[in-house]
Subunit: 346 residues, 2 copies
DNA sequence: TTGAAAGCGCTAACAA
DNA sequence: TTGTTAGCGCTTTCAA
């Protein structure tokens, strides 16, 4: 099927050979392979057969050279956000992105960029139209000018997670506000009267949105917002533990807490246990993420599910759609629904 | 610096233009750019200046077309190992790999492959010399034939973590055996007499190696090996919790436990707490990973540090070295030292 | 609908 | 040491 060479390299069949075998010109063979409509059915069949017989695979380099498209998409991870690597969230999103890229025969190039602080030279020089057709940015943080620079270089961008400044960007996000609202409404519906929250970092959109959802649920129920019932964590277990202790100190009368991430919720559970508070009798806890840990914690955690894999898929497809569009379609945004996963009796 | 076109695409300067500006032939310009030694210093300078003035960047597609090298390296993650995504281990390794690739102007292509079970067609057809020059495989599991197939396709491979069957492979690993040995020796030196272990999955090399280290330390101290003191977990917190409960049931007299991963160690701590055993007075616990959680757990966990970022760097450099070598250097293997991080009084 | 031919930008072989 | 030239494999006009 493929000839081998002395150096172990494999010599692949070329379009030329396919054309010859099919008894057509190179141009025609090319048209068939690229799905051009103006090809006679029988010609198409002949070429297809030749392709199959020869095990032909187009040479991407040659193709790129003339089309000026690389077929590659960058997945940009900002170094400070590397924490994402240690969250199930990330794995799911990447799986979603990856499956789309596979289906569409695109390659996914992983680019870790250093924080603005530690950048010496032009950041991520690799991120240019010369190397990738577009870029997917995950979970941006406020004040980073990388997206702007990439856009200036002519790269099409799509954000996974709503970007801090939503000025004509394309993004896919989950409904953080709605998820948080549902979580808090659930607690209120269970006759909890003093519902606290452990919010995420205020410089992250997800953190802000989930806090907003908390407020909205209180408003809807006519419950006044009380800053003493709000503590902030950094999405880690330790942060959740600290925040819970702080809440217990200020407001030992609380009987429920909505925690903006599962790791923080686990930390909160620990703090509550250490304080001798029973769960959920004395304090009900609801998390956010629907991470695997939430299902097996003691007690199992009610939490908000977010469709992470779908988020990845949608973002990837949105980017490919923008690339396919002649002048780069106008920015779009999609919000995916979240849902409450009720466990135990909290 | 670069001309823009109507479609927003950037038209980059070509080697031709660089040569013209420098007043040399295209070939000479090419030599300078590729660092050929046979170029007169002044010629070199002239070309370099032209490159700088024009902001010239070589066209990778054109280059690949003639050199038949892509400049890309695949990072292959097997789907079942996706758990790696949720471990700090992974983030560190990827950071190491990524930094090397940046330095050497290589792109890192992320490839998630599905488990052997769910593969429909030829697995990861993308993984061929046509697309990538080589591949880095992380944490392989027993019985997967993907590495073999990739090698048959003519791809150079390097493993991060010792591969299950070490028949002439190239790999970089950390000293799991030595780390485990040190951990157990530490417990024995602290006059612990009944040291149990929670081992990792037996189908993973790291799991086996850490158990071996445990045995070696016992042997060295003349302590008999007792299967009742061995429980197995799956590297997750839940697994550690279960294993600890099992150990306590069979051998409530144990006074120390070496746990083969930090997440499992945290689960073990929880089980011990729930059983009313004080830590470290009643039972001393040592983990493995030196994950961030270990430092902030209650009590802080003594654990084994593994140089994850270095592992990534070494693996990446080994692969590039193999690629640079004419006939693909003979397989090499490197074991990086681990070290015990003693915390608290365990 | 099809074939022929002109490059895409670069490296490497060959001459000079 | 340098310039010239022949492709690498493909897409895409341009004619037919």
């Amino acid at each position: 099927m493929t000839g081998s060479r002395a150096d172990g390299t494999t010599k692949r069949p070329t379009l030329e050979q396919v054309a010859a075998l099919a008894g057509v010109g190179r141009g025609t063979a090319s048209r068939v392979i690229n799905g051009s409509p103006s090809v006679a059915p029988q010609t198409r069949d002949a070429v297809m057969k030749a392709v199959a017989d020869l095990g032909y695979v187009p040479n991407q380099a040659a193709r790129s050279l003339v089309t000026r498209r690389t077929g590659a998409i960058a997945l940009v991870i900002s170094e400070p956000e590397e924490r994402l690597f240690s969250e199930p969230f990330f794995a799911g999103v990447v799986r979603g992105i990856s499956s789309v890229m596979d289906e569409r025969d695109r390659q996914l190039v992983l680019v870790l960029v250093h924080g603005a602080a530690e950048r010496r030279d032009e950041p991520a020089a690799y991120l240019s139209p010369q190397h990738v057709d577009g870029a997917l940015l995950l979970s941006q943080h406020e004040g980073d000018d990388l997206p702007q620079r990439l856009r200036e270089r002519g790269l099409r961008l799509v954000f996974g997670g709503r970007p801090p400044s939503d000025d004509g960007q394309s993004w896919v996000d989950v409904d953080n506000v709605g998820g948080a609202r549902a979580a808090v409404a659930h607690l209120l519906a269970r006759r909890r009267t003093t519902v606290a929250t452990i919010a995420g970092p205020p410089d992250m959109q997800a953190g802000r949105d989930r806090l907003l959802g908390y407020r909205e649920a209180l408003d809807a129920a006519g419950v006044p917002f009380d800053t003493d019932l709000v503590a902030t964590g950094d999405f880690t277990e330790l942060g959740g533990w600290r925040a819970m202790r702080q809440l217990l100190e200020h407001r030992p009368d609380l009987d429920a807490v909505f925690v903006a991430s599962d790791p923080m919720a686990l930390g909160a559970l620990r703090a509550l246990r250490e304080a001798g508070r029973s769960i959920p009798d004395s304090v009900a806890v609801v998390g956010f993420d629907d991470s695997p840990m939430a299902a097996v914690s003691d007690p199992p955690l009610t939490t908000v599910n977010q469709p992470v894999e779908l988020l990845g898929r949608e973002a990837a497809e949105m980017l490919l759609a923008r690339l396919a569009d002649p002048e780069g379609a106008s920015p779009r945004s999609v919000v995916l629904p979240t849902s409450l996963v009720v466990r135990g009796s909290s």
